[in-house]
Amino acid sequence: MVGPIYIIAIALGTAFFLGFFKKANRTFSFGLMLLAMAFMTFISAQWLYAFLTQNQETVQIFTAGFKPPFSISLQMGFHESIFLTIINVLGLFSAIYLFGHLRDKGVNMMMVFVVLFMGLNVVVMTRDLFNLFVFLEISTIAIIGLILLEKKEDAISSGFKYLIASGIISGLLLIGIIAVYYYSESLFINDIIASKLMYVKGGTIATFLILIALVLELKPFPANGWALDVYESAHPGVGAIVSSASATAGIFILFKLLPAFSDSAYYIIAVIGTLTFVGSNLLGIKQNKATRLLGYSSIGQIGLVMAVIGLTPYLGDKTMFIAFGLLLTHILAKAGLFWLAGIVKSKNIRDWAVIRRNPHLLVLMGTFVFALIGFPPFPSFFAKWELIMQLANSSGMVWLAFILLGSFIEGIYMFRWFGYAVKGENKDLPEFKIHWNKILPAILFAIGLYAFGYYSSTLTGIAGKFNYLPLLFIVFLYAIDFLPVYIKNTISIAGVGYYLYTIYPGLEEYRLVFGLIFLAGGMLTLLAGYAYKGKRQGFYPLTIMMFAGLLGLIEAKTTLEFFFAWELMTAGSYFLIIRGKKSMPHALSYILFSVGGAYLILAGFALAHIDQNTFSLDILSNVQYYAPVIFTLLAVGFMTKTASIGLHIWLPGAHAEAESDVSPMVSAILLKAGVFGLIILMLHMGFQSFGNVDIYYILAWIGAITAVMGNMMAAFQEDAKRLLAYSSIGFLGYTVFGLALMSHLGWLAAISLSVIHFMFKTLLFLAIGGVVWRVKTKEMYKMGGLIKKMPFTFISVLMGIIVISGVPPLTGFGGKWILYNAVLDKGWFFPAAAVFFAGIIAFLYCFRLIHTIFLGQLKDEHREVKEAPFWMLVPQYIILGVIMLFSALPNSLLKPIGEILLPYFPDGALEWQGQLAISAFGYWNGKLIMFIVVGIFVTVFAWLWYMNRNAQKVKQFNIGYSAERPSLPETTHFAYNFFAPYKKVLGFLVTPVISNFWDDVSEGIHAVADKIRRIYDGNAQNYALHIIMFVVVFYLIAFGGFYGI
């Protein structure tokens, strides 16, 4: 094997040798440099390979032929080889990325480049403290040189700031080193560790100086203004190096020297790391310049890794796995994003919409952003999971809370940025060119993220293997994205169908119910996709991603699998939602609520894991500590998906702005994931209370209020799809209410309502989607009289609203009937009254749907409107058939569900005699009622039809006030603001208190961030002062005054 010392020899030899070629062909010089980088990468990779496969032992390399401590020695061990390989691979690809720049700027910069990586290599390997200092200086100076690749005024002044800051930091380091030398009489790190300086007078502070200087090298918040300026002004290729390679080496030094510090060092590092993670991300949310934003994020991520190292006492032997997972993700994703920034060249994040001109770049960006936030299947997901689990297990609750908070805040700006890229206006933005050498590294790094994600999943030590089959299907769909819609649609339906077919025999109980909703529902809604023409780029991989997540929930046996699937579903649905026309802000609030909810779920799972060795979902039924807290965390987490009141504000916009066939997917199907979660939670954890307060009673109230408010807001909407969206909120309120009853009938109602809601909401969203497709507006008052143009759609809507309003004879009535029975059974009359009231309000909006859109007179501009596309009608009529079946034969739906519930709730079940259901309070015969109602309907309809002969037709909008015509005659239409009288009375109830609340929260956070970031006033001197203050403050924290003197 090639010795590590040759890394130094090759790099320096090349750097010095390049001096001969100042005037020679620069591509040739570049080739030489690249060769050196490749060779360095080869050496480190070969060692890594040996450590991984051949039980290679750690090797010490002595220079000058003397053993340490008399000479400087290097060490090549497993950890060294990993870090070196990471750094060198990054160096190699950075070189490729910077090819054009390095060639244009000449040989000097190539020398600096190769020396930089040589320096970082030695920093990792050396076992001599002063040698560490020297090579740290080399890499710092080299970075300062590389900043000049952009010879702009900004870059120059930021380079000066960097010089001043690093000068002070290395001065402090040097003072520490020389003092340490005095106390330990050696510079060999092993000797220093052995001499236990923390117990020596003065040695404590000397090691503290070294520690704080090393931490400062990692640019901790808030002493990092200089670094941010560099990130902003340097070439993005250099930003990638600073953010990834330098920080990686810095982390390793900290790791290497950790044993030399006192135990309180762990605490200090953890505090600084967490503070940096939260603080830097907080300031990031006000940022709109892409590279500076990446700077904030880089600093935050490195802070997190620092925190993990500091939290070693909590994390034990998992520390390395967690730190590596986070660091590796950070390196790959951050380098990738910086590189994209160099390709796109848009400073402002709003201008990143231009990236969309090449959809593959968007895929890369999405990969990097989601990896950074910690979504599956990336390494950070598994690392974060393990981190939170371990923290909870060793009672690090405060750390846990802060880390989740920081992660969430990072999500805010990352997703906002991504949203601009996906949906921003990009017409007037300048073109950008893609050179192969700039895009290749990013592609490889993205692939690396997936590969390492897979590798991490195999290390989690969980028996249940992750199901990667659906993910492969996503990749396949991405690969065939160039094909027309009808082919991809067929493949997708076939794929979902096949999967359902294979797992169907294994599904039991409530998993079967929800499995059918998710997958059969998925196939049904996909049918509508045939109505689309062209390619519909990106739609199918994303749709399947959501369904893969949903079915993962069904299949999950362990908490980790569950969470994996939950996040996958969230990501997929986010992409589907953001495809809508004006959906950018709504998609952002959706993903933020989802991520927030997911972190609550994560925290809940983590607390539940305390003192339990298994990862099975059954741990929830065996919780040791904090049971009510766990229940609340999980319930709130799941309710972000059911959009219960307070957590609902993302829903209306997200659902209303989505595409016609996406709305049913995200409304009728996706929301059920939350219900499914709640069911699992309640079945496992049973009754919970805080002292005397029954949590389920609170849940019942939440459900009831959600039902009332959802329906009320639905009634006052002008936008048809928004109306349906609010109606979903209301209906999910019933479901939550039903579940909260914790009785057989309550659950029967909740689950059957879930099924019913799936059916009618798919029906209505598709029907209304079809109308919107044709009339090109969602405003109901602009429609009218469409019954003649779209009769089939009319029938769908009619049936749909009969189901919603819960009147006989259709199946909605059955659900309501059971719900009222359940309430009587339980005796919670106040919330029940609210639920009942909500049912009445539902009539209002149901009426509007049918009346405003289909009845009345046809608008002039709609004379040519055709019936909805055939393929939109197909799923509607399939559903109609099922609804008719369930309505006529209610026991075909309710009886199996009742049987599922029997083992959990044996008491109070319905008794069935044929189609006659008997409860403790009465009976109901669906079939009989069907006949009666149909009879009445036919009679009345016949009479009306007969009377209608005498009706006289008039033209509309033939309006004039004193010879003036209103400019918008439609607003004078009686359908406009139809429920104004009700609004006058009840309107105060629907003032957007909750939206305002969240807006205030958001504004507050932004204002705080804006206040704090003023400390970065751009003055190099103040940055220097921050560094000194940082040292003083943490000295006071560490020593509480003048200890040690």
Binding site: T63, A64, M111
Partner: protein
């Protein structure tokens, strides 16, 4: 003013910290065990009469390589940074150079350069070495730049000298791995008779290259600054 008071306060705290780091300093009565090893065995192991040189070039040779690299980096960066696109400086306004300076420099520059060479060749015997000698060398050239501003020195030659000495230094280091027991091992050449010019193995040769390299690097930095001084 308030700010200055605040800075004073922070610096006072900083003083406490630095003083704290040396709180255990009681002076030395004896050498530490590493230093003791150098003092006792330096002569036999390395063969350099100047123990500092033994430490700098051999025991801690990697530091020295790093040190040279830092100067190399500085020179490369400054050279790149201050590169003058338009090198014909014919219309530069030059300051008047006094006759005394001019005449003295003609006498002094060769002597200074000679002295510099002496210092780095004798680095293993007497106080001095590659860095000191290189710095003296460069100061001779700086004096020349001041005294004879019109005189052009080929920057290219300086860089090539720098490269040759750099590559040679690294090659000598690698030779240590191949012919002796480690990178930068000076025993690739015989240690010779202790205390003579041709002793201490490869140290004098390494110091020659270090001296040339430092000299050319510092000259190169000065040259860059000189070429740049009239840039707008």
């Amino acid at each position: 003013m308030v700010k200055k008071g605040f800075i004073l306060l922070i610096l006072a705290a900083m003083a406490v910290i630095i003083v704290g780091a040396f709180a255990g300093f009681t002076g030395n009565t004896d050498l530490g065990y590493v230093a003791n090893h150098y003092a006792s065995n330096g002569a036999s192991e390395v063969g350099s009469a100047n123990l500092v040189t033994a430490v700098v070039v051999t025991y801690r040779g990697l530091d020295t390589l790093g040190e040279v690299t830092i100067l190399f980096l500085s020179a490369a960066i400054v050279g790149f940074f201050l590169k003058v696109e338009n090198t014909d400086n014919k219309d530069r306004k030059l300051k008047y150079v006094s006759e005394i300076l001019n005449t003295a420099s003609q006498v002094l520059v060769p002597i200074i350069i000679l002295f510099g060479v002496y210092v780095f060749i004798n680095g293993h015997l007497s106080p001095g070495g590659g860095f000191q000698g290189g710095a003296i060398l460069a100061s001779g050239f700086v004096l020349m730049f001041i005294a004879q501003p019109k005189k052009e020195i080929s920057h290219k030659m300086v860089t090539i000298l720098e490269s040759i000495s750099g590559v040679s230094f690294v090659l000598l280091g690698v030779a240590g791995i191949i012919f002796a027991s480690g990178f930068l091992d000076n025993t690739i050449l015989s240690l010779g008779k202790f205390g003579t010019l041709f002793s201490a193995g490869a140290i004098p040769i390494i110091y020659i290259f270090v001296g040339l390299k430092v000299g050319s690097e510092l000259t190169s930095i000065a040259l860059s600054l000189k070429e740049n001084q009239n840039e707008a």
